[in-house]
Amino acid sequence: MTKEQITARLKDKFGPELEIVENNQPEPYFYISMAKYYELCSYAKNDPQLDFDFLFQLGAVHYPDDRFEVALCLCSHEKNHKAVVKVRLDHDNPETVTISDIWKAANWFEREAMELFGIGFFGHPDPQPLLLYDDWDYGYPMRKGWTGPDFVPMPEK
């Protein structure tokens, strides 16, 4: 499917909950509201037209002033199209639901986002740290403006 077809199909289903990001990339980028996030993922995986059977990546982004974002890059093997789904999370209380029951691949990505950004994923089957060491208690290092022990910022010239 082309960019327009994917956008149209999702717009039909979700209407105003879906917010298209205008850019000149070949694949569609859009925001989905928190409430419809899980539903969209489930729809994207199971809809025979969309058939997004491959979660390429799940990454969190921290906007230090107002919000967190979780960005999913979805791909379809059979249909050979891609899309980027994003969801905005509250800055002070970043929480959403897990999608690791839709794509098993999301499991580790969510653990990583939990650990490095402090985003909560409700219903995650195995919510334990992935990358940092066991007695790490210096906060969430990937947040903007984080400092901690042994962290040396690059000196500006």
């Binding site: 990339q25 980028y29 390429f56 990546q57 982004v61 960005a71 890059c73 980027v84 691949a105 990358l131």
Partner: protein, 388 residues
């Protein structure tokens, strides 16, 4: 006194009595494999729940090589970050470079000269061979055959010579740059490269003679660690791992980047996704890569190797991009968020091993520890890709 010791029995010796006495009992035990273990290819740690030789459960623990490359990326300019991509996948630095370069070029809409595209293809395919050679060596080492390891490294040195004459490095090349490549190839490169390809085809036959036709090797790999296609897709497996499961998915074919659409090559696929199939897919990829390199050398156009008039400090427009390429281990891609500054706002690195490593658990439960080693070898996981 936490371990059982032999001591005489008080009463009559029966099985029940022995179990009661805790002298003879059956139990599952935990084995900690790694982070320093010869066959975990780096610093993976596996906790195995064993029942004798059988694996009842296993949990991979990663993060022993977590170098916070994503954090570093936010504090470097786009060009400064390129050397770090070398270190994400040190066995295949060129594809990592290429993944970053294509992502940034897609974001900033930079055209690349044709000669540079061809050189990129040549280098990436050479590096694919070099990376698969490391895989071949370590996998055969995992199965107990030491000699193929040394043969593989012997051929790899030849490829490294080619890289060295091009960019002066053996492992971390930093050769592919945003908008082209660092410099043109030296005059003698083409001749040496053709000689290598010619010789290497024969060497691949040698590897097959020592491994493929070996009944012990067959016994160790056939029908071991079968990865069903659905599961592979669900877990995010890619590259030779998913191709071994009878699925011809290769970004070079389905979504051609660079100039891959101009070359004639096949995508080898396996039959049912066992260790043997993944092995054969990679062996066949040796031959296909040779074919691509030859075609690229034949069609190498004249011209610039880097796009002129690129600003020294790149400031791509605000926005986001995600792009992926086919690295030797599978799909490698970057998700970049830019706010128009000279440094990326957020870089998310998605590597092939991240998905492939998650295939280890479902494929190896119920098998023996020797099979686990074989499966892990065939997945070709490299830990810096998982941890980053």
């Amino acid at each position: 006194m936490d371990r059982p010791r032999f001591r005489p029995h008080a009463g009559k010796i029966t099985v029940d009595n022995m179990i009661e006495n805790k002298d003879l009992r059956e139990e599952e035990f935990l084995i900690n494999m790694g982070p320093q273990h010869p066959s975990t290819h780096g610093v993976l740690r596996l906790i195995l729940k064993m029942e004798g030789e059988f694996i009842r459960d296993l949990t991979p623990y990663v993060g022993y090589l977590h170098r916070s490359i994503e954090k570093i990326a936010e504090n470097r300019t786009y060009n400064q970050f390129m050397p770090f991509t070398d270190r994400i996948d040190y066995c295949a630095s060129m594809p990592s470079n290429l993944a970053w370069a294509t992502a940034v070029e897609k974001l900033a809409a930079i055209e690349v000269p044709e000669r540079a595209e061809y050189l990129r293809v040549i280098m990436v395919e050479l590096n694919r061979i070099a990376s698969h050679l490391i895989w071949l060596g370590t996998m055969s080492l995992d199965l107990g055959a030491v000699t193929p390891f040394l043969y593989a490294f012997r051929e790899r040195e030849w490829i490294l010579d080619l890289f060295e004459m091009t960019c002066g490095q053996r492992l971390t090349y930093h050769y592919i740059r945003i908008g082209g490549v660092a410099r043109d190839i030296p005059v003698e490169f083409e001749k040496s490269c053709r000689a290598f390809i010619k010789d290497f085809r024969r060497r691949v036959d040698d590897y097959e003679a020592i491994l493929t036709e070996n009944p012990i090797f067959l016994g160790r790999t056939k029908d071991i660690g079968i990865l069903p296609l659905d599961l592979a897709k669900d877990l995010g497996a890619s590259g030779p791992t998913i191709r071994g499961s009878n699925y011809g998915w290769d970004i070079r074919k389905v979504e051609p980047y660079s100039v891959y659409d101009r070359f004639d090559f096949q995508i080898p696929i396996g039959a049912n996704g066992d260790v043997w199939d993944r092995y054969m897919v990679r062996i066949e990829e040796f031959r296909q890569s040779c074919k691509i390199i030859e075609q690229a050398l034949d069609g190498l156009p004249e011209g610039d190797t880097v796009r002129s008039k690129l600003p020294t400090v790149l400031r791509p427009p605000a926005g986001e991009v995600f792009s992926r390429i086919e690295a030797p281990r599978g799909e490698m891609g970057y998700y970049i968020v830019s706010n128009g500054d000279k440094k990326p706002f957020r870089v998310k690195i998605r590597t092939a091993s991240y998905g492939n490593l998650q295939c280890l658990r479902p494929t190896s439960i119920g098998l023996k520890i020797a099979d686990l080693v074989a499966i892990f070898g065939s997945l070709d996981v490299i830990l810096p890709e998982v941890d980053r």
